[in-house]
Amino acid sequence: MAEVNRRDFLSGLGVTVGTALTALPGLPSVGVAHAQDKPKGNIPDTPFKIGHMTFFTGAAAVLGEPMYKGQLLASEEINATGGLLGKRKIEILKADENAGTDANVKELRRLKLSEKIDFFCGITSSGNTPALGPVAEELKVLTIFVDGCTDFLFDKAVPNPHYIFRITNMQSADGVTGAVAAAMTWPKTKRIAHIHPDYSYGRNAFDHFRIVMKKMVPGAETVSEAWPKLGTTDFSSHITKTIAAKPDLLAISVWGGDYVAFYKQALRYGMFDKMKVASMIAFGVAPHAIGKDHPEGIIAGVHSNYHFTYPGGDKWPYNKTFVEKYHKRFNEYPNFQAEGGYTATYMLKTAIEKANKLAGGWPEDDAIISILEGLMMAGPAGYVYIRPDNHQGYKDAITGFSKNVPEYPFPILDPNRIITIPIRNITAPPGWPKGEPTSTYTWIDKTWPQVAMAAEAPKAPAAAKPAAPAPAKKQ
């Protein structure tokens, strides 16, 4: 395997820090500010029924409710202009994902067969998308999963999807993004400690973080692994074990309330003063879910998807407008699920409008699907692209550094240090054989070059850059 200089490696990956997106002309975008072409043909005025299933109760409601709000906001905006194609008002039927996988499958069937939904959306849990995906295919119900981000869905459960799509990044992006950010920020890392929850997400994060660090910081060794059992509330033994190993860097994928319990306990041990910390998902719940006592300057992952402060200011109007409207409507700031629900709704709208332009009248599902495949549009988080081969949405992965600012009662990502990575450069490309534990893992393992151990060697030849396939546009 070729060796490259780390700077060139990062450059090849397209990693940027604190830069803004540039709008591409002609691409569809979220929002309805732009003039809408008159639809072709006869459009029925019957309501367009969306079955939205997410967590409205239980621990995961902190993710689910914003997802629903995102879709609700988009639907209200669309309805205010007359509805889809100016005629069909969106009607959302809510279903609580907390009912359990079996019940969710039954509810999807009921929604399609009894309520006659036109479109199914939502889903937070990766435990549910592999169960619901095949059923949606069987029922032939057009579906965009907002989350449920497991690689397993399109790697194995529904390898050749027709009716189902997913809009948020895949799980493997978390570990990869965290590792790329850590390698870029702390390239002299020699000793890495890991704390991950002892179930598949933790193992996925560990695997992908480690494979990337092996490529990008090859001199670093793993000096400690801690695997808190699910439900752990006392992290002190994991913290003391980690500190005792004297790492330079801690990689951690503990999430949600478990992460909050962890960092508050870690503060007592001065852990954040003793090592750098890279988290995959510290800020990946909801902006308000983290306290101001959270340490600054750690890599605070956002599930590699979205943080409402990026792109900030006026640099990317779609985000500015979305955040303002969302906050005005719901009195809170959106999380990645809210952005996903919002963008999914506009993706659907865009596909329906394009399909109408082609054939007139209300388009058949297959016509909408053919538009969605390969569709790229501008959403609050940036460009999102639906890969036609696996129906997976791709958008640039982001992460950043925790920072407290007076404008918000919770920490945010430092606006000057946001790290973005083109997702195509950290995800297995179309046609890559299915792999274990994931296709992305084997792709990285087999194709990424290894950074030379000598510190910041001269610029490497262009041929040694990592594979970075361009998005395959369908048009």
Partner: protein, 742 residues
């Protein structure tokens, strides 16, 4: 779905495998805080700590009653107590009922509202579910003509201040005494709080409190001379009525007749205001408050969430009792009686049913009533509750309740079995029946179990089902026994499920240890029995040395209680005793339970309750999230159409955002069928005739054309009036009541 090896089907199991779960594990067993600390501090210190945001809530009254509270403090309001005027029998000026009634009316006018005192001259208050059924009586009591006001003695506080301001305060020469009688005081000698049983079923109903106001007796609150309507009480509590209207009529007559002597008159009620920290970052949210118990309730510890955490966090509470030894011993049979004890047991114990915070009903918890059906007999193979042996022959019965019981591991790591949940029946029979073996009797157990023992015929185990919860690549499996409980004829179906549910949060071996201790004269379950026998009131913490020694003895004998022989094998018994020994070694007490929190470190200053985040615990974070924000509904318009009444309503809904919420009012629209709520919009109604007689009564959820419909049936021609109140999500606290002619 992954295939589960057959062997694993035999046990509660948690399987975790790689491949397909995301970060969002969506089920976290037990409830939000990862640890609860209960500190024993006086109100002044409580106020200081709340100001400094060092505690989240104070369960013991409004510590800011006399001072301005900081902005970050909010209050959880509940019924603090009825304000009862008790005339002295020796008061010459108030020798007859009429003078006393008129005197009370005059006193009310003199007092006026004096927060937290609320004028309400009737024992059934807006904090009682049956308020709407008595609404006319409340208005009539308000309109009573005043006479000469009595001179009244009262304890220091806002009431005495108000009395003094009105020139009606007196000392020992007073005509009457003003008492504030809390629901806990009223129920002290009447309630069931034993193991996982909670009762009686009508414990939160206004008519029952009205009865207790007259029937209770203590040195400071001597019983009135006026004869009580015992027959009405018997008929109501034994289900001797055929219709809802008949039941309501009984209750109204009972309240009227019990208070007819005006020796004890309810003037109003006090609001209990428990302060809690509502700060954006450091406070708590999702606070469910029991309408009678306030924060010292099961629902509070199962809903309270720290604002700084999506879940987890250290919840810091305080109560006024400094030393638990002063407020009562801690044992699960007749202990945990003080303010601290109640709060701690609410977290450590886990009842079969939880009291609904906003009504008089119960919420299914660990014993889940699946059906209540008529039955003519209990089958021969059903078990007699006292012996847990088959009846041998069918026995007459009136109804059958089927429960699904959610088992789990107990804190000592032992998997619960059917033996654990059946054992309370045998325990009740053994300790609740006076007999020659006086050491195995406790009068408090007798009283607390009277209703259950009087009602139950037999219990039958239908089987133990395996229930599976799939969470992606995680498969959680639970043992769920299905149990039939046969009750005697005459039990009201409304009350049946709460009478004797098959459940105990205390595993049989821990309970047997305490029984043996009491049986050997080392203590007593109740304070009264301890005093009578001159032994310590059994306490699992302070009595741990005695219990440890005894546990060693029982372990060496692989002890199994008589009633459980045949239900528990030697290996299981051995394992239980070993586990208890190990548990006591690490926790320094002998009270493992199946509850969501563990009784942890106990000091003179505080108790720590770590969460039992064990994946066999069947209920999870958010299980009771429909209870923290009670919603109300309002009658906008009523319209008579033929023989029925149609109601147009406004309803409240919640908009949650960040770490807060707001309530918005909007016109009622029927909810989609797939959206589940605690309870749909319901109208509670009673039709009264010209002589105040109850003609019809009921509750309706029938919605037609967006309007609720009340159909009282065909009534005889005449002038009637209908009292109506709406409940949304089951909330019947302080409903708006409308009276319409009909």
């Amino acid at each position: 779905m992954r295939l589960i090896p057959a062997l694993l089907l035999l046990v509660l199991a948690l399987c975790v495998a790689a491949a397909d779960a995301g970060h969002e594990i969506t089920f976290y067993p037990s409830f939000y805080p990862q640890e609860i600390t209960v500190r024993f501090i006086d109100p002044a210190r409580g106020a200081a700590l709340l100001r400094q945001k060092k505690i989240h809530a104070y369960s013991g009254g409004d510590v800011f009653a006399d001072a301005a509270a900081p902005e970050h403090v909010s209050w959880a309001e509940s019924l603090g107590g009825l304000v009862v005027l008790a005339f002295k029998p020796t008061s010459a000026g108030f020798a007859d009922a009429e003078a006393r009634c008129a005197g009370a009316a005059a006193l009310i006018r003199g007092l006026g509202a004096s927060p937290p005192f609320v004028v309400h001259p009737y024992p059934v208050t807006p904090y009682h579910e049956d308020y709407v059924l008595h609404y006319d009586r409340v208005q009539r009591a308000r309109d009573r003509a005043p006479g000469r006001a009595p001179r009244v003695r009262a304890l220091a506080g806002p009431l005495r201040t108000a009395l003094a301001a009105a020139g009606l305060a007196a000392g020992d020469d007073a005509d009457a005494v003003l008492h504030v009688v809390s629901p806990a005081f009223l129920l002290a000698d009447a309630e069931t709080r034993m193991l996982g049983w909670t009762g009686p079923p009508w414990r939160k109903e206004g008519w029952y409190h009205a009865w207790l106001v007259q029937a209770s007796s203590s040195p400071v609150f001597p019983r009135a001379a006026h004869p009580l309507p015992e027959e009405l009480f018997r008929r109501r509590t034994e289900g001797a009525f055929k219709t809802v209207a008949e039941r309501v009529d009984l209750e109204r007559r009972l309240v009227a007749e019990a208070g007819a002597g005006c020796e004890r008159i309810v003037l109003g009620y006090m609001l209990r205001r428990n302060p809690f920290n509502d700060d954006y970052a450091e406070g708590i949210q999702n606070v469910a408050v029991d309408s009678h118990a306030g924060l010292a309730s099961e629902i509070f510890v199962r809903t309270a969430k720290l604002k700084d955490f999506p879940w987890n966090g250290w919840l810091s509470l305080a109560v006024p009792d400094r030393l638990h030894a002063l407020e009562g011993a801690w044992n699960p049979v007749a202990g945990f009686t003080g303010a601290a004890g109640r709060l701690i047991w609410a977290a450590v114990g886990d009842p079969a049913l939880i009291e609904d915070p906003d009504s008089a009903r119960f919420i299914a918890n660990r014993a889940r009533p699946a059906s209540v059906t008529p039955a003519t007999e209990a089958p021969a193979d059903a078990l007699a509750p006292g012996t847990l042996r088959p009846l041998g022959a069918p026995a007459p019965a009136g109804s059958k309740v089927v429960y699904r019981v959610l088992l789990s591991k107990t804190h000592d790591g032992q998997r619960m079995t059917v033996a654990d949940i059946l054992y309370p029946y045998a325990f009740a029979a053994r300790w609740g029946t006076p007999g020659s073996a006086r050491r195995t009797y406790d009068p408090v157990v007798e009283r607390a179990t009277t209703l259950a023992r009087r009602s139950i015929v037999a219990v039958r185990v239908l089987g133990v089902k395996k229930e599976v919860k799939e969470l992606g690549d995680m498969t959680l499996m639970y043992d769920v026994p299905e149990i039939e409980v046969y009750l005697k004829p005459g039990v009201d179906a409304r009350d049946a499920a709460a009478l004797a549910p098959p459940w105990s949060p205390v595993p049989w071996h821990a309970l047997a240890l305490q029984e043996e201790a009491v049986g050997r004269g080392l203590g007593a379950f109740s304070k009264a029995e301890a005093a009578r026998r001159g032994v310590p009131w059994l306490d699992v913490v302070s009595g741990r040395a005695v219990l440890a020694k005894l546990a060693g003895d029982l372990e060496s004998r692989t002890f199994v209680p008589e009633a459980l022989r045949g239900h528990v094998g030697a290996d299981e018994a051995r394992q239980r005793w070993v586990a208890l020994r190990e548990f006591a070694r690490t926790h320094r007490h002998h009270l493992p339970t199946a509850g969501p929190y563990i009784l942890g470190k106990v000091t003179a200053e505080q108790v720590t309750l770590p969460v039992f985040r064990d994946f066999t615990y069947p209920l999870g974070i958010g299980s009771f999230d429909q209870y923290p924000i009670p919603l109300r509904a309002f009658i906008v318009k009523t319209e008579r159409r033929g023989d029925r009444l149609e109601i147009q309503a406004d309803v409240e809904s919640i908009e949650k955002f960040a770490r807060s919420y707001k309530i918005v009012r909007e016109p009622f629209r029927p909810q989609p069928a797939n959206e589940k709520f605690r309870e749909p919009l319901t109208v509670h109604w009673v039709v009264l005739g010209g002589h105040d007689e109850v003609v019809a009564a009921g509750a309706s959820r029938d919605v037609q054309n967006g309007r609720l419909v009340v159909d009282p049936g065909r009534l005889k021609p005449g002038a009637y009036r209908v009292q109506l109140a709406l409940s949304l999500n089951g909330n019947l606290v302080a409903p708006e009541v409308k009276v319409v002619p009909y």
